[in-house]
């Protein structure tokens, strides 16, 4: 029996949930783009994995008229040539592909592991945070001892900056999507036992050094260029964007990271970071990239199940801590 609902003219079609497969919504985004969405608006990395599975399948399908795809957290934007590929045919193709990847458990997602050196609580981010306090907000509660990292500790119920650093290094960071600015990654912890969260700056910070790394909500981002920003900073890494393509890592384009990459922080001192950054620009540094391994979703989900009690315990600790901390 058809549901009685107000007509949604932005929705082209839907595919109801079946078994473990989430419902799919296909939306118009003009005559050249289609937006596909999985499930409800919740943050669930398995949705993101499924997006990559679909992206892979769509690209391999060789459908004529497909121009490009933009995978994101639970959605994928698809650009297509609607004069060659009618919307109906694209939607039918996408629906068929859902049947070929019926279970996210069966997915193996091609994923690179990239080790990036990180100077935590470094002097460059410290300098811009100090400028923020001086010129933008003197009483910013998220700046303690001239940095954000102590605030991140308190907001999450962690003992001190050292424990924050331990948490950040204890998990790989899954790059769910790239966007907003060229090369800017949106990364989430693969090990939820170390999923720290923070509120954002208020007002935003007019300055952030290139290579700075920060966290907003559950998401970690690396700033590809010096820019304003709103995330709580915890350190600085090496360039992930180089217009001049001075290092072999930037040979094909100036952008290092791709969606579905996994990033691991490796702690270094300010001095060591400075030296590596010079080697990057001299072209002699070799980025530590393990070219395509794959992430097996089935074993990952098994892992998630096994750590559930620990995750719940940390979330309780966070919930208690938040009550004691001022929001910016």
């Amino acid at each position: 029996m058809p549901q009685v609902m107000p007509r949604n003219r932005a929705v082209i079609d839907t595919l109801p949930a079946r078994g473990a497969r989430p419902p799919v919504t296909y939306r118009y985004a003009g005559d050249r783009f289609l937006l596909l969405e999985y499930g409800d608006m919740v943050l669930d990395l398995t949705m993101n994995f499924r997006i990559f599975g679909l992206n892979d399948a769509l690209k391999r399908s060789g459908v004529d008229g497909l121009i490009e795809t933009v995978p994101a957290l639970r959605s994928m934007l698809i650009q297509y040539d609607s004069l060659r590929l009618p919307t109906r045919r694209l939607v039918d193709t996408l629906k068929q592909l859902e049947e070929t990847i019926a279970s996210v458990d069966d997915l193996n997602i091609p994923s690179r592991r990239i080790e990036l050196p990180m100077a935590f609580e470094d002097r460059w981010t410290r300098a811009d945070i100090e400028r923020y306090v001086k010129f933008t907000r003197k009483d910013a509660p998220n700046v303690i001892n001239g940095h954000n990292i102590e605030y991140i500790a308190r907001y999450n119920g962690l003992r001190d900056p050292e424990e924050v650093i331990h948490y950040l290094c204890a998990t790989e960071w899954w790059n769910a999507c790239i966007g907003f600015w060229p090369g800017l990654p949106f990364m989430f912890p693969l090990d939820p036992r170390f999923a720290i969260v923070t509120p954002k700056y208020n007002p935003t910070r007019p300055w952030t050094p290139e290579g700075a790394v920060g966290i907003g909500g559950p998401c970690v981002a690396i700033y590809p260029v010096a820019s304003p920003g709103g995330y709580q900073l915890f350190g600085r890494t090496i360039p992930i964007f180089d217009l001049q393509q001075r290092n072999p890592a930037f040979k094909d384009n100036p952008i290092l990271l791709k969606a579905a990459d996994r990033v691991q922080w490796v702690r270094v001192t300010d001095e060591a970071l400075e030296a590596i950054r010079e080697q990057v620009y001299a072209g002699t540094y070799r980025y530590k990239i393990v070219g395509y391994e794959s992430l097996n979703v089935k074993s990952y989900l098994k892992f998630l199940e096994s750590v559930k009690p620990e995750v719940a315990a940390f979330q309780r600790r966070q919930a208690e801590a938040v009550k004691q901390v001022a929001i910016p």
Partner: protein, 326 residues
């Protein structure tokens, strides 16, 4: 070679359709703000429609030619002259070494003009395109707008002798005005799930003023008190315009809090605000001619079928059959 004597307000090298295929790396396509005038300028001088040409915002470009070429000027009227003699728009003319092109102040409606030269401008391809991406500072001529002293190379050959005296039929030339009707499709995030039907009715009937802070990243419209179909964005944020970050279609209407912004050539590729409507490909060119702080627009809703038909008609219009000689 084109020797730049004055760069004007913002003159950039662009190509069409721009840097396509890098949205998943966070890079919007750049390219011309008005692809109708851009493609037509190239067509008039016998270039491929997407070839590298100049986008001149507001005017002020002063440049000397060092080669014999065909030249076409399209788009807004900047009262341009060649060696002091008024230059026609939408028509190709001959230029020779030493000739001086001067684009002055805008006259009447419209905001951007295009300069195409037979053989096209020779700037390096960067990530598959010659378009200038102003935000990232790459592509085009050294990743920036042209300025005094720049020497922009032209591709060899292409004297353009046979491409002189070509005109776009008069009845096909766009008539820019201070108010434009711009065709758009509802979605991806519209009613009834994100906005109310009343919100969308307002969106498609209101006369929107183009904010003075509009540029190649976004065309800002005025804020409005939307009713919203939701009370908050849930996990994505406190405001009902917040969603979990998703890719933004190029030329979509992004509602940031209460303010709608049309995301254009150099916009952000992804973000966490709803987009309640998206311009159709055959209408986006009109946006390039909007004068910030002055012009008004109304969005006219069209269906997918109508949009496809419009795209076909536009491709037919920008073709050899629309060119007359004389």
């Amino acid at each position: 070679m084109l020797e730049v004597l004055e760069g004007g307000i913002q003159t950039t090298v662009q190509d069409f359709p721009g840097r396509v295929g890098y949205l998943d790396l966070g890079t919007y396509p750049a390219g011309p703000m008005d692809h109708f005038a851009f493609r037509t300028a190239n067509l008039l001088v016998g270039n491929a429609q997407g070839a590298a040409a100049l986008e001149v915002m507001v005017g002020g470009l002063k440049a000397r030619f060092h080669d014999r070429r065909a030249l076409a000027l399209t788009g807004a009227d900047t009262q341009a002259t060649l060696n002091g003699t008024p230059l026609p728009l939408w028509e190709s003319v001959a230029v020779k070494a030493g000739d001086l092109l001067e684009m002055k102040m805008l006259k009447g409606a419209g905001f951007r003009s295009y300069v195409a030269v037979s053989g096209a401008f020779d700037v390096p391809e960067y990530m598959g395109s010659r378009a200038t991406f102003t935000v990232g500072g790459f592509g085009g001529f050294e990743g920036r707008a042209l300025k005094k002293g720049d020497q922009v190379r032209l591709n060899p050959g292409g004297t353009g002798d046979t491409q002189v005296g070509r005109r776009l039929r008069t009845n096909l030339r766009p008539q820019y005005g201070t108010h434009s009707e711009i065709e758009a499709m509802r979605g991806p995030q519209a009613d009834p799930d994100y906005m109310t039907p009343d919100d969308m009715a307002f969106f498609f009937s209101h006369t929107w003023k183009v904010d003075r802070n509009s540029n190649r990243m976004g065309i800002r419209l005025e804020s409005h008190k939307w009713q919203w179909a939701r009370t908050s964005g849930g996990i994505a944020g406190g405001h009902p315009s917040n969603i979990l970050d998703n890719g933004y279609a190029v030329w979509t209407v992004n509602v940031c809090g209460d303010q709608p912004i049309i995301l254009v050539a150099d916009g952000p590729s992804l973000g966490g605000f709803i987009c309640n409507a998206t311009l159709v490909s055959a209408s986006t060119w009109k946006v390039g001619q909007l004068v910030p702080g002055r012009d008004t627009i109304r969005f006219k809703e069209v269906t997918m079928d109508e949009a496809v038909q419009m795209a076909q008609t536009l491709d037919t219009t920008i073709s050899e059959r629309s060119i007359e000689r004389g």
